[in-house]
């Protein structure tokens, strides 16, 4: 990876062409989460933007793993490694999806065990440490490429999930997916999203993501990819210091597809100012200073 910035799953990554564009500045890109079958997702409105971030309940729209092969083909020459995000109901589905992603040339797979608003998937599976373990084991057996496990913050103790993933052989954990949230429309007297409850992303969840990474770093040996609320290069450093080795960014890209370039400049300048040469030197610093 040429830099620690990874495009988060679900943002500008359904079509190969958009991903290629973001990939110009990224250390890696994660695809939209892909499942067994095509899904249209929920009806609009699926997004609500407000001062502190975004609520979404897309409902995991995706073309299904078969058709997604076309996009993966177009991604062959991608300048950044492509990580295939997948979601399934159980070990079998996850293993199958991971195999296909490996065949398609994915550099790694990311298991979406954390989407907060699609019934039967995501965090409904990923909240149970035993299921997490079983799924990670099954995927590890099915593929050679590294396996990332994306965790949900909507639990009492995220470290339990992180440890389950690590024990089962995960190569890295990603924290966090969106936080379950709701806003209500005063005129229409209902949720601002068709699906009701959605996932909260963007700057308002930054403290929650940082806290999760900090907690995970205390108990894990595998690398942690920090995610959630990053908007500025300072936020990136915060994640590194909390214990992340790299970061994923989603919501902030809406306003700036070349965001990674700008963040990279900021991080580099900070490191120079402080006399750090490699990103690794910054990782987990906040754990030393209590």
């Amino acid at each position: 990876m040429k830099n620690p910035f990874i495009l988060a799953s679900g943002i500008l990554d359904t079509y190969a062409e958009t991903m290629l564009r973001v990939a110009e500045d990224a250390g890696a890109v994660v695809t939209k989460s892909i499942g067994m079958e095509e899904r249209k997702g929920y009806e609009n409105p699926v997004i609500f933007e407000f001062e502190h971030g975004v609520l979404n309940a897309m409902g995991l729209p995706n073309p299904g793993i078969e058709r997604f092969g076309e996009e993966m083909k177009k991604l062959r020459g991608c300048r950044a490694p492509v990580i295939g995000s997948i979601f399934g109901k159980n070990e079998k589905e996850f293993a199958h999806l991971a195999e296909r992603m490996e065949e398609y040339g994915a550099a790694a797979v990311e298991l979406n065990l954390s989407c907060p608003h699609a019934s039967g998937y995501g965090m409904e599976v990923g909240r149970d440490p035993a299921l997490v373990k079983a799924i990670v084991r099954a995927v590890k057996e099915a593929v050679q490429i590294p396996v990332f496990v994306k965790l949900t913050p909507n639990v009492s103790d995220i470290t339990v999930l992180g440890m389950a993933a690590e024990e089962a052989g995960a190569d890295a954990v990603v924290a966090i997916n969106t936080v379950r949230g709701l806003r209500i429309d005063l005129e229409f007297k209902r949720s601002v999203l068709t699906a009701g409850i959605g996932g909260y992303s963007g700057p308002g969840i930054l403290p929650i993501g940082l806290r999760c990474v900090f907690e995970l770093k205390k108990v894990l040996r595998v690398p942690i990819v920090g995610c959630g609320g990053i908007t500025t290069w300072e936020n990136v450093i915060e994640y590194l210091m909390a214990g992340a080795s790299a970061v994923e960014i989603g919501t902030a890209l809406r306003n700036d597809v070349r965001l990674f370039k700008n963040l990279g400049r900021g991080v580099k300048q900070y490191m120079k100012r402080k006399g750090y040469e490699r990103v690794e030197e910054v990782v987990a610093l906040a754990h030393q200073n209590r």
Partner: protein, 242 residues
């Protein structure tokens, strides 16, 4: 933001304009996401960009059908304006619309004339019963010619052909067009190499804010880098072959 419908105008049996107050600067060509709290949230171009804004909706399915039942006093939620806009200046323009494409071009034409520019407007419809906004344009002093597929009004044939005829006889600084995608491609093929050509395209919109990729074509987010594109930019990426 929520706003109350202040007026509903029936433009033709399948098209209604909804007027509402929305105190935000909007440029011709930009769109908004409209939600009535009952149907889906859908993208609509602004057909009026002045003080009282408007969207002009063709009934084509579930949500547009629900929208057509909305009365003055009822509430809409508007998100936007989003996206790029038509270039507007004091130069000479050829505007080409197909069907409801006239909705987003009308405010552009008015703005161009307001800036001291020149407009020729060719508007295509399937037949005479679908025609709307022509009065509005003529009132603004714009020279409009009509094409219908069946010849029930004006020129008989595709609006792109009529545009070709005009183009052959006059020179223009810009062509801007809005309508069905096949029409826009024909515009691209005919004119993009000869004159600055801008087109407004439709795509499946979900977020409207550049996040979800649902609207993207050729690596461009239609909701942000579009809906108004320089035709040449898309053509370079292979749009005509898509």
């Amino acid at each position: 933001m929520h706003t109350r419908i202040v007026e509903v105008v029936e433009e033709n049996p399948a098209v209604k304009t909804f007027r509402f107050r929305y105190n935000v600067k909007v440029l011709p060509g930009q769109f908004c996401m409209v939600w009535d709290g009952a149907g889906e949230e859908v993208p609509m171009s602004f057909s009026y960009t002045g003080k009282i804004k408007g969207v002009t909706v063709k009934k084509v399915g579930k949500t547009t059908d629900l929208l057509h039942r909305r009365k003055p006093g009822e509430v809409l939620r508007i998100r936007g304006p989003f996206g790029t806009h038509y270039p507007v200046s004091s130069k000479k323009y050829l505007l080409v619309s197909g069907g409801t494409g006239i909705a987003s071009l009308a405010p552009a034409a008015e703005k161009i004339v307001g800036r001291g520019g020149k407009c020729r407007f060719v508007a295509g419809f399937r037949n005479a019963s679908e025609i709307f906004f022509i009065e509005r344009l003529r009132n603004a002093g714009i020279d409009v010619e009509i094409a219908t597929d069946d010849g029930s009004a004006g020129f008989r044939g595709f609006v792109t052909e009529l545009a070709g005829k005009l183009f052959a006889g006059e020179s223009f600084d810009y062509i801007i067009a809005c309508g069905p995608v096949q029409m826009l491609k024909e515009i691209g093929r005919r004119f993009a190499e000869k004159v600055e050509t801008y087109i407004s395209i439709e795509s499946l919109m979900k977020c409207g804010i550049g996040l979800c990729d649902s609207c993207s074509i050729l690596g461009y987010r239609v909701c942000r880098e579009g809906p108004v594109f320089r035709a040449g930019e898309l053509i370079e990426k292979g749009w005509l072959e898509e």
